[in-house]
């Protein structure tokens, strides 16, 4: 299989592994997998919250150790 073909899922069925033909379907952009979307947005929110919390802790630690507060 030419290398270029590996990057194009034109047939939407990869020839590299087999799929059960009873349940296989083309990925349909009009019906998103809401669980995955929800998890993605959820983990995005969690990561931002963690980042802001860590930053707040760091600033507080810096100020305490240098006697600025």
């Amino acid at each position: 299989m030419p290398v270029g073909r590996l990057f194009l899922k034109t047939s939407a069925v990869s020839k590299m592994f087999s799929r059960n033909s009873f349940i296989a379907s083309k990925p349909d952009p009009s019906k998103p997998n809401m669980l995955r979307v929800g998890l993605a947005f959820g983990s995005t929110a969690v990561l931002w919250a963690l980042l802001f919390k860590q930053h707040r802790t760091d600033v507080h630690e810096y100020k305490t150790r240098n006697g600025l507060e």
Binding site: A40, F41, H55
Partner: protein, 116 residues
Amino acid sequence: MGLLPDEAKVLPPPGIVNRNSVWFGLCGWATAMLHNSLNRRPALKAGLHRQALFITVGWFIGYHLTKFENYKYATLDRDMSEYIRLHPEEFPDKGNSTWKSSRIRVLISVLRFSLY
């Protein structure tokens, strides 16, 4: 700070917007757009949840990397200042430094670049 010792907390923390965060965030966004393109979807308009997640992961990694980088540079600066303090004869006040002191300064700045 998992890989940073306790003394690193003395250093000023980087802002939320910092050089590594912006860069890694942009790299994450480019990865998401590339993923869209390779799956024959519109690069910018598709998979926004994926784009947001990748940007966030990059931003998060960049913040901690900046902290780590600041600590490493601070230790190098401390070692250099300590060396200069212990060997004042090599760093005369007036005018030109000695050959040895200029070599040491070059060596330390090269080592800073490689972040030993």
